[in-house]
């Protein structure tokens, strides 16, 4: 625990102690902890805490092998509690985390630099304050791990279990308003040379995560972000700088960004050589799949929740696509036999989560809820059978394999039982 956190905990405990004293005086109970009171009671309000009645949290772990207990299961990262989400923004404190076992580095923004070099006319080095002086953009974008909702891998058993929550099934996606400088602006300043076709971006974490992607994307809509939801990016999300690579697999969104090298081929970094190529049943790997397909999921009612009585409910969920904006979401309450257009809530942004809702009256009988989205390219979210066809296999493959099937965007069914309980009905 860092000193600041322990200070804040102390303040909170002291606050509780003060409250306890007041209650104690009324009931005759003794005082609680003998902790020192904060110097100023208003210090408690300088940085807001949510109500202590609200306890929604990320699940999983950073999966740092040095901290893992002997029998602790290997996790892939920490998932966002989508079941508790409202609107389309993920609080920064609940944004999913995948960092391949490494703790976020503790970076002093005054010391941090971004270097742009390689096949450029003028290599450039920027401080964070200098980047903040440049023309900026603020955009809503989701970031999603390519392994989100995969049926196999470290989170596979939880994901396909009948009692899976939407956090278990889809928690590796989050949406923020990101603020930063377009990468195209920085690259134009540096002067990209003829022949440069790729960039390789590098973070300042312990294994200096490195990722290559085509220059065309870098010049299109990528930006170097320093802000997330109105405040500096959180340490777990790349403080003080990260790349935002809209609509593409999360691995491209390099956190703790410190270097961009202009090159003429993919640099075959560890992640793009090992886990991230998409291995198919023919034994061949499709490397560098970038754009994520359209995906949606109902967040209420969803796995693990319970409808208390028959009657009216607003079905609600999130839809997103790496290809653009969400144009349509349809909801089915009869296992996909009939569909009804859902209402899309503003803002409907490109490559961002879009909140949808649909009124529904539950009659107390078994029901299976589906959602499917269409993006502005006209691409429709596929069924399990359609995903299987793309993979040239059958649905059972996804249950049996131990392969992390990336970019898995099949329609997610939730079954409502007669007692109101909701369960995962993927298989």
């Amino acid at each position: 625990m860092n000193p600041k956190q322990s200070d804040r905990r102390r303040f909170l405990k002291s606050g509780a102690a003060l409250a306890g004293l007041a209650v104690g005086a009324a009931t005759g109970a003794g005082p609680l902890a003998a902790e020192p009171a904060p110097e100023r009671i208003d210090d408690l309000h300088l940085y807001g805490e949510r109500s202590h009645f609200v306890n929604s949290v990320r699940t999983g772990s950073i999966n740092n092998p040095e901290r893992r207990l002997e029998h602790e299961p290997v996790a892939f990262g920490l998932r966002t509690p989508l079941q508790d989400s409202v609107g389309m923004i993920t609080p920064a404190s609940l944004h999913y985390i995948v960092s391949h076992g490494f703790e976020p580095p503790d970076i002093d923004p005054q010391e941090h630099r971004l270097l742009i070099h390689g096949m450029v006319d003028r290599p450039l080095i920027f401080t964070v304050d200098e980047l903040k002086r440049l023309p900026s953009v603020s955009r809503f974008h989701f970031i999603e791990c390519h392994g989100n909702s995969t049926t196999a891998g470290p989170g596979g058993p939880e994901r396909i279990a009948p009692n899976a929550t939407v956090q278990d099934t889809h928690g590796f996606t989050s949406c923020s308003q990101w603020t930063g400088v377009p990468l195209s602006l920085l690259l134009k300043e540096a002067g990209v040379q003829k022949g440069a076709t790729w960039i390789t971006a590098e973070g300042a974490d312990a294994n200096k995560h490195s990722k290559s992607f085509p220059l065309a994307k870098a010049m299109d809509d990528v930006f170097v972000a320093y802000g997330q939801n109105g405040e500096p990016i959180r340490p777990e999300q790349g403080f003080p700088l990260r790349l935002v690579v809209p609509g593409w697999q999360g691995i491209n969104n390099v956190k703790w960004l410190r270097r961009i090298d202009l090159v003429d081929e993919p640099y075959m970094a560890m992640m793009e050589s090992s886990r991230y190529p998409s291995l198919k049943l023919d034994g061949k790997s499709r490397w560098f799949e970038f754009e994520l397909g359209p995906k949606s999921v109902i967040t209420y009612p969803s796995g693990g929740q319970r409808l208390p009585v028959p009657g009216f409910y607003e079905i609600t969920g999130l839809a997103w696509s790496g290809g653009g904006a969400i144009r349509r979401v349809e909801v089915s309450a009869d296992g996909g036999k009939t569909w009804k257009d859902a209402k899309l809530h503003d803002p409907i942004a490109k490559k961002a989560h879009t909140r949808f809702s649909s009124p529904w009256e539950w009659n107390g009988e078994e029901a299976v809820l589906h959602s499917r989205c269409t993006d502005d390219q006209g691409l429709v979210q596929p069924t399990m059978a359609e995903v299987a066809k793309l993979w040239k296999t059958d649905v059972e493959f996804f249950r049996k394999t131990s392969l992390v099937v990336g970019d898995f965007n099949a329609i997610q069914p939730w079954k409502i039982n007669r007692d109101g309980s909701v369960q995962n009905a993927l298989f």
């Binding site: 200096k208 090992s274 799949e289 131990s402």
Partner: protein
């Protein structure tokens, strides 16, 4: 090699001089780094060996470094412990068509340069940057020898390393780098490429 890379960049600079000059638009934002600064930061290594520093090592030398600095996590023979198994076998490569494929450094990775690059940038875990180029070459040689890819006496250096043929080198689609960027042309849809 860094020196040759600078030369290559220099050659490209000359060609670029013929293109319309681009001038910076934002005054006094950012500065030009020195050559030494770039050199100190630039650890990129390409699959063709671009960026590899001079140096050399053999599996025999690598065994000593591996035992001292790597075995604690990856096991004495690279078979995995807290850290993943890195030494690969033919069986790993053969497993790639099964329901339970095993992706190891030796059995799956397409380029030997990536082995060098990742050891150099990330290993030993939380203590990266402490191995000399010769040590990185020798540990790379040890892993490749243990995986049956090179001979125990083979010398790896900035010239020979990029030439090492990895067993799964031809297991990637599309085979040509220049065909990768255009996902539409590749026929990718729904995040899945054919």
């Amino acid at each position: 090699m860094r020196f040759s890379r600078l030369l290559v960049c220099g050659a490209i600079l000359l060609t670029a001089a013929a293109m319309p000059a681009q001038t910076p638009s934002y005054k006094n934002v950012g500065r030009t780094p020195t050559k030494e600064e770039i050199q100190a930061w630039d650890i990129s290594v390409g699959p063709d060996g671009k960026g590899l520093p001079p140096g050399q090592g053999t599996a025999k030398e690598g065994a000593v470094v591996f035992a001292a600095k790597c075995a604690v996590c990856h096991g004495p023979d690279g078979g995995g412990k807290v850290g993943p198994r890195i030494v690969g076998t033919k069986a790993d490569t053969e497993s790639l068509t099964t329901l339970h494929p095993v992706r190891t450094v030796g059995g799956y990775w397409p380029y030997a340069t990536t082995v060098w690059d990742y050891i150099n940038r990330g290993m030993p875990r939380n203590n990266s940057g402490t191995l000399s180029p010769n040590e990185v070459y020798s540990v790379t040689a040890f892993i490749l020898w243990k995986s049956g890819i090179i001979q125990e006496g083979d010398v790896l250096n900035e010239k020979t390393l990029p030439k090492v043929q990895m067993p799964n080198r031809n297991g990637f689609i599309p085979p040509k780098f220049s065909d990768i960027p255009d996902e539409k042309k590749r026929g990718c849809t729904q995040g899945v490429c054919p």
